[in-house]
Symmetry: C2
Subunit: 424 residues, 2 copies
């Protein structure tokens, strides 16, 4: 952990970015077997160096009070033998995934005989900025390398020793297996300005991916000159249609809201058709009684459920990430769609219905990364979609939308083969 | 053409953007037939209102000297009956293209029975900023509407009357065919600040597309808060390998350089293998003798061709867009690849060779939107690729690379159908 004077810091960042670019040229040409050898060797070294990683983690844990981490944050920071085994296992899983690079996405022969293929290639250099969980260090590196990208990692200072000890395993594996030395680089300086310098280097870095709290993401979006793959809010809705199966609706709402409250695909706002509100809402209240969940309702909701508090206009836009659920009664499917498209965050929205027409209308009109019919919002996830590995869930429409796996870290090029064609 | 005071201008821009967003919701759900009816009716109205369009164009031509347009620019601005017929014909061609919206890109059934489909949907609202050619007004609107997007058009002031008379046809067609009224909007104020206001409205506008000179593009990239689909340089290379067919190489170089010099996919820099340089370069000199082309060469080139001027280091990065060609002799394919990846603009680069290994190595290692083997660089074009219509050629890697047609103006969403699944 060195700190730098300002010009030296800028030079250091430029050097890191240039090395990453050079490594990326070699990485893009690397075969699948070589990338997988690195992944498997990294997993082996993580296991064989468990003691060293735990020792480094112990140093981070010792400093945790200085950073004001609460007990949940300390728990996320803490490694043990089984967590290290999980990190190693995740690396092996990425080795088992199909290599996206080289895929012929499509192709055609033109009337003049030119043969055109659209081939998947890496983006180039990824700058990955994340907060305290040390397992992200290995996960992010694995996904970037498997998709042929060089990666510059910037982890949170709270986990810096743990991350660095994991990086040492990954870099030693690179040396042993012939992966370009600068394919995985870790920013060691705690200097906050390093991120700012790197975010300006769009000539060398192709994409920035922040993973963490809203403050981090907003800073990266504001400062980055390269494109950003990001995740903002997940204000997810469920609409209970008048033709819903109540038992199914209750089960899905409970799962969407309560299975894990602090995640982006958890339910935040319930919309209920007026035709069933009076029958359904008391059952919902009973279903959720075992959880300490506060309901914030519209006027009708509050009339039906005296325990509900009145919702303010702000509530409709909020991502609570905790034990609060807003509830709105609407007159029609159309009103539900307008409300969700207006107040939602275009992340995950679901309808519970047995009516085919309503289901078709909802899935066509809702402008969200994932639109669910009769399923929990919690399924909007790279693992659940079968991607095998995930760097996050994009709330953008550009380039990648929804869960981002290996393919979302790629682009394509056109290869055009001829035998002397010229343009008339 | 109204001008506004500053707060009124900002309000006007916000109103335009909001109307576009509202129109885009309806457009995204519109069937193919309705979009095609609008395209065909627009073509009809353009033809039947030819006199009015020519009258408006006459007013623009009368003002052309005030804007300092040269004769080439005036020629691009000038409409006549046959040019209007071409614009109408282009609209009909877009009607004939397949509708990208609703395409199921892929899908799967998960082990828990969830059925996931990835469906192509519009981006939403496109802000299209272009310079003087009035035909772009119709072309851009056609591509945006066919791909389900609402469009805000901002044309150059030099063509404002022509563009506005074309817009009147498109909007009248919208009214007659039931297309949402604000699907196609045209910014009528000549105020330069209108562009700046609109570029800040990333909440309402999904993508900005500038088409014109470098100054325009840099301004848009600098100011836009939404993603930009853009075209920077086209410093295109041809590498003549030692195993090249000389006749083919000469024919392809002549076509790539001379068929149209001022376009982005024209040849700017030639790289020649040392093994053939002495035999090949004099033939090249003879082949190009009928054109007034200046060769700027490396030391070896200048030794072989006394007519060549010495190239400076700057020349290797230049996009001349005119009668200059830089020529570099290299010792190997590897050196050619390094040079092209370093100095090129990742747009279009070609190899001329009969050697399969060289062709494979070149296409794998060159990091460009289109990599050609034994074909003219001029083929990197949406029309030549079979896209049917094109909004430009992207030099970015993110979202869209190379020629951008209808599909490049789309994104996707995941539709997940279940029968009550919850996450364990």
């Amino acid at each position: 952990m060195n700190t730098f004077e300002s010009p030296a810091l800028a030079d250091y960042c430029l050097d890191v970015a240039r090395r990453a670019r050079a490594a990326s040229s070699a990485l893009g040409l690397l075969g699948t077997a070589a990338k997988n050898r690195w992944l498997i060797k990294s997993a082996e070294l993580l296991i064989s160096r468990t003691a060293a990683v735990l020792e480094a983690n112990g140093r981070d844990l010792a400093h945790a009070p200085d950073y004001g981490l609460d007990s949940a944050a300390i728990d996320r920071l803490r490694l043990n033998e089984s967590r290290i085994a999980e990190i190693a296992s995740a690396l092996r899983q990425v080795a088992n995934l199909p290599d996206p690079i080289g895929e012929v996405i499509e192709g055609s022969r033109r009337p003049n005989g030119l043969e055109i293929t659209k081939v998947r290639v890496p983006l180039g250099v990824v700058f990955f900025i994340y907060e305290s969980r040390p397992n992200v260090t290995a996960d992010a590196a694995a996904i970037c390398i498997k998709s042929g990208n060089a990666v510059i990692l910037r982890g949170g200072k709270e986990a810096i020793h743990s991350s660095q000890s994991i990086i040492e395993c990954l870099q030693a594996a690179a040396e042993e297996t012939g992966l370009p030395q600068d394919a995985v680089q870790f920013i060691t300086t705690p200097d906050r300005e390093a991120v700012g310098h790197l975010l300006k280097l769009d000539e060398w870095i192709d994409v920035a991916i922040p993973r963490g709290g809203e403050g981090l993401i907003r800073r990266v979006v504001e400062e980055a000159r390269m494109p950003v793959i990001k995740h903002f809010d997940g204000n997810c809705h469920i609409f209970v249609d008048q033709h819903a199966d109540f038992d199914m609706a209750l089960r899905i709402i409970e799962n969407s809201k309560c299975q894990r409250m602090g995640v982006c695909n958890a339910l935040e706002s319930l919309v209920v058709h007026r035709g069933i509100a009076k029958d359904f809402l008391p059952k919902l209240d009973a279903q959720l009684a075992k959880y300490p969940i506060e309901l914030r309702g519209c006027i009708t909701t509050c009339q039906i459920l005296p325990t509900a508090r009145p919702a303010s206009d702000e509530d409709w836009s909020r991502e609570y990430l905790g034990p609060i659920l807003s509830v709105l009664v609407v007159d029609s499917l159309e009103e539900a769609i307008l409300h969700i498209n207006r107040y939602g965050s275009h992340h995950t929205d679901a309808i519970i219905t047995n009516d085919l027409k309503a289901s078709r209308q909802f899935t066509a009109a809702i402008d969200s990364a994932a639109v669910m019919v009769n399923a929990s919002t919690r399924f909007n996830d790279g693992g659940e979609f079968g991607f095998g590995a995930e760097i996050g869930i994009s709330t953008d429409k550009f380039h990648a939308r929804g869960p981002c796996g290996l393919r979302e870290l790629t682009t394509y090029k056109y290869i055009v083969q001829g035998d002397g064609q010229i343009r008339p």
